[in-house]
Structures are given as C-alpha cells and as structure tokens.
Amino acid sequence: MHSSVPLAAGAVAPRARWRGDWLAPAAVAVVLAFAPLVLETYYQELVMKIVIYAIFALSLELLAGTTGLVSLGHAAFFGIGAYATALAAPQYEAGSPLLLLGLSMLAAAAYALLVGALSLRTREVYFIMVTLAFAQMAYFVFHDTPIGGGSDGMYLMMRPVLKAGDTVLADFERPLHLYFAALGLLVLCYAFLALVLRSRFGHALAGIRINEQRMRAAGFQTYRYKLAAFVLAGALAGIAGFLYVSKNGVVNPELLSWHESGAVLMMIILGGLGSLRGAVIGAAAFVLLKEFYSSEALLGPAIAGRWQLTLGLTMIAFVALLPKGLVGIGRRFSFKRSRP
C-alpha cells in the first residue's frame, strides 16, 4: 500500500537522469585520486580537510536538505566520533582503523539515538534550538569532566594501521595513505547517500520534508523515519570525526562546540540545500574561503588576522546575492534540474 502513494518531485523518472548525475562527481573523484601526483603536501592537506568536512556536510545534508530537519547541534556527533577513536585507540600500538571507525560510528549513532528520540518530539525552530542545546550538553561533558582530558583534549598517540595478517595495507601515519582512505570514504558516503535518496526510504524522507501530515495520513510512521535519518546522519558524522582525529592526531571539546555546528550548517546552505553535490561544493567553498582569508602569505598579517570579518562579510554577500546557494549558479544556466 505504501508504494502506491504519489511522492515528491524527486521521484520523477530517476532512470533518465542516472548517467548525467554520476558523471560530474565521478570525474571529480578521479581527478582527486590522481591529484597527489602534482600537489604539494600543503595542498594535499587542504584537500584532505575539504574531504573530511565534505563527509560531515553530507551527513547533515541528509537531515537538513532531504528530511527538512535543520539541526544546529550536528558537531556533537562529529566530536563524539573523534573522541571515540582517541579514547579507544590503544596507547602503545597502532589500532585497527576498521575497528576504530566502527566504534566512532557506533558512539555517534548511540548519542544520535538519544538526542533524536527526544528532540524529534519538537519541530522547526524548537528542533534547531533543542539540537543545539543537546550538543552543548555533550560539549560540557567533555569540557568539564576528566573523561577526555577536560578542556585541553587528548592526543591520539598512534595513528591506526590496517593490516591483513602481517602485511600492512594502509598506515595512517603516512599522509598519502590517509589521503586515499579519506577520499575513498567520501566516495562511499556520497554513493551510499545517493542510493539512499533513490530508495523507498529516501523518498519517504523527502515526502516528510514536503508534507509530513500527508505522509502520516498515507500510513508512514514518520517519527521512526525521522529517527532513522537522524541516527544515520549521526553515524556518518562519526566517520568524519574518525578521519579528523586520524589526520590531526588530537581532539578537544571545541570540536563539539556550536561554532562547529554552525559552520557545517553554513556549508550546506552555502552550497545549496537539497543536493548532495551542494554539500560537497559548500564544504569546499567554506574551507577554501577560510583558508584564503586567514592566509598571511596572500593577504598580509593585518588582513589575515581578521579573517572572521572578511569571511562574515563574504557570507552576507552570498546571502544577498545567491539565495539558492552555489549550486544555484549552475542551475541558472541550464534547464536540466540536477539533484542529487
């Protein structure tokens, strides 16, 4: 009976758009895969940073863009994922990345289940504020108690190493291995979410965004769908957290702070809500803008020290001039609607 319900506009003729949709993201992935051949270490690091934030932004996109649940506390899951790896990694030997990744996702998903179960009782603005408050609660747990080293945070002593028997498959101590691991995870997340959006579950989420009342009337238990989306988004944010700590080797409570939650929300709004590529583009734009504005080499110390001002003013200009986000620029010049 469910399948006979007419659903959101996104359900129209998925097959016809299949090939065109995959071309651009796949091309970008291939280019990034060969990029280390020509990129210096600094730029490799920058790409890695973008990749990590892109995963983080994609996870929020599933909530905010697809389901219409705007969370301003998403950094909690990112931070908990990072802390889970840092806490669970063995002190004097390298941990297994698969195990640590799984733990990070599990920990983030567990907190998402708790937060989601409570905050999904509310909607719209309440939801924004409640998710923010719960993220702040997690922030204070790490900030005020000695679990994770208090406000100083803690170090990841040994980066994870992936072994099969005695042969080392990937050593995260080596930047290039980490680069490919991060890129691979981004591709997996993107493909996974693209499949989710095409599935019955994804269409139900889109339906909830457009008209929850109608979905409920059609027999969907929308609360469960929303909770599933929330937990899934939390787990994906946990992946980003795992990569963050593997790259930087250090975690602190600021990872869970509302500035971080705000930043990731800004990324997906900047890129353009409602499309996966928008989240990735937004993450890249945000990281690059911040990097550019705080670059002393390019702008000189006087301006670079004031990056908040320049970044803030740029974002205001974006709001004024680009109501549909960066993805909207491309759409303005083409008739083909492209999502995700």
Partner: protein, 290 residues
C-alpha cells in the same frame, strides 16, 4: 548549607535568571513576531557589556542615565541593522536568516576585537552601589547585585505593561498571531518589525550593561548567553514572555544550585532540565499567548 549561604545562592539564582530573561525576551519577541532565528542575539548582549565598559568612566555615578543612554544607542543600532541586513530577507527561507545572523556573529566578534581588543575587562560599580549588605553572621551580599535584580524586575514589568496594555503592544500581539491580517488592517508591519527588532537589541544590550559590573567583560561572552537563552525559550514556549520569565528563573535556580551541589557536572544540569521538560511538554511550559 546554612541559611545565609542558601539566601545568597537564591539571590544569585534570581539575578542570573532575570538577566537571562532580559536577553531571552528579546529573542522570543523577535522570533514570535518576525519569525527570525537570531543567532546574533548573544552578540548584542556582548555589545551591551562593552558599551558599559566604554561608557562607565564617562558617566561615573550617573549609572541609570548610562543605562538609558546605552539602551537608546542599542535601539538605534538595532533599527539600522534590521533595515540594512534583514528587511530583504523576509520573503526567503528561514535558513537564509540563520546564515545571515551567523555571519553577523563573526563580523561583530572581529569588530569588537579591532575596536576594544581581546582583553578581559572589569567594570566598576557606581559609588553609591559599591558596598555590601549584611545577611547576618559573616555573610554580605554586594549591593550592586541587588540593584541588578531590581533593575531587571522593573524592566520586566515595563515590558509586560507595554505588551499587554499599550497600543504598540496590541500591534505586537496582533503581528505575532496573524501577520497578514495585521497588515490587512493597515498596520505598517515593516515598521513594526523594525521596532520589535530594535527593542530586542536594546533589551539584550541592557542585560549586558547590567551584567558588566557584576561579572567581567570578555570576548565570546555572547555565545554562552545565546545558548542559555535558547534553552529558556524552549522551556518557556516560543513567543511567550511570561513563559520566558518562568523558564529563566527555573534555569537560574538549576544552574546556580547545580554549581553548589554537583560542581563537576554543573554545565549539564540545565540541559537535563530541558530534556525532562521536553518529554513532559514538548511545546514548552506556556505555548499560548504572552
């Protein structure tokens, strides 16, 4: 805990709660009337505190004159801000406003850093409020803190009176319950928005100015207050001023006594309170009316 200590903690809780109420009432009004989620509201509190730091040496003992002058400046600032940055956003998605207010936080923080630097400052309480009031035994309570609570109460009553008893308040309530009908009755909703926004900014700045001599003035002080105000608004019910007062006092008591009894987990108590209230009443304590 002996009685004087208990009394001091109660006074602290009330003072904190009332200050939170001043900031949260602006936030809830702006949301209730204009539908704007103003993340930059905490920045107005910070601006108020720095205003007190800059103005206090000029006004000396005329502290109340300073508060009024600062409030007027903040209201003008809010009026212009709404005009320049928000007036073109009303037809758009809510998230555009969130993005705008987030960008404004960054801008305000950096401008504050450029204009007054990043140091922590203290503000001297005026001479006539410098002493303490004996509470029996060795305990004294700073006179200024009592003044702060009293001032907040006066403003709270004034706000109640304006919203419930004046023509402006009638327009505000009408705008909150039905925007289009209000416009249809010939009320200039744009101007009303601008006035409400200016009022909200003035209230937040006033709270900052009152708080400055009792606490210190430091960068990033707006963020913590903003989040506490969100908690207050969620507990109280969005758009409700009386709900905000009730919730603010509740938060004040939970936070203050949480610090006394569970020092290490004190940051969490308020959020647990919020979670409990959400389970019990998802729409807040008072979700209808002011």
């Amino acid at each position: 805990m002996d009685f004087p200590t208990f009394l001091v903690q109660c006074l602290n809780a009330i003072q904190y709660g009332l200050l939170l109420f001043l900031v949260a009432s602006g936030l809830t009004l702006i949301f209730g009337i204009m539908g704007v989620i103003n993340l930059a509201h905490g920045s107005f509190y910070m601006i108020g505190a720095y205003l007190a730091y800059l103005l206090a040496p000029m006004f000396g003992d005329h502290f109340i004159t300073m508060l009024v002058a600062g409030m007027l400046m903040a209201a003008v600032f809010g009026f212009v801000l709404e005009w320049v940055f928000f007036s073109f956003l009303y037809g758009r998605d809510h998230l555009q406003q969130v993005l705008m207010t987030y960008a404004l936080i960054l801008v305000f923080e950096e401008l504050r850093s450029i204009l007054v630097g990043n140091e922590v400052h203290g503000v001297q309480a005026p001479g006539w409020l410098a002493g303490g009031i004996s509470l029996g035994g060795m305990m004294t309570y700073p006179a200024y803190n009592l003044f702060a609570s009293a001032a907040c109460l006066v403003v709270a009553f004034a706000l109640y009176w304006v919203v419930n008893r004046t023509r402006l308040g009638m327009m505000v309530r009408a705008g909150a319950s039905n925007r289009d009908m209000t416009r249809g009755l010939g009320i200039n909703i744009r101007l009303l928005y601008r006035a409400v926004f200016a009022g909200g900014v003035a209230l937040a700045a006033l709270a900052g100015m009152i708080a400055a001599p009792a606490a210190s003035v430091y960068p990033g002080m707006g963020g913590g207050v903003l989040i506490m105000c969100f908690v207050v608004v969620v507990i109280g019910g969005i758009g409700s001023i009386s709900g905000a007062l009730l919730a603010a006092l509740l938060v004040g008591f939970v936070d203050t006594f949480g610090k006394v009894f569970f020092a290490q987990l004190s940051g969490i108590g308020v959020y647990v309170l919020m979670a409990v209230i959400l389970v019990w009443r998802p729409q807040g304590l008072r979700n209808k009316g002011f």
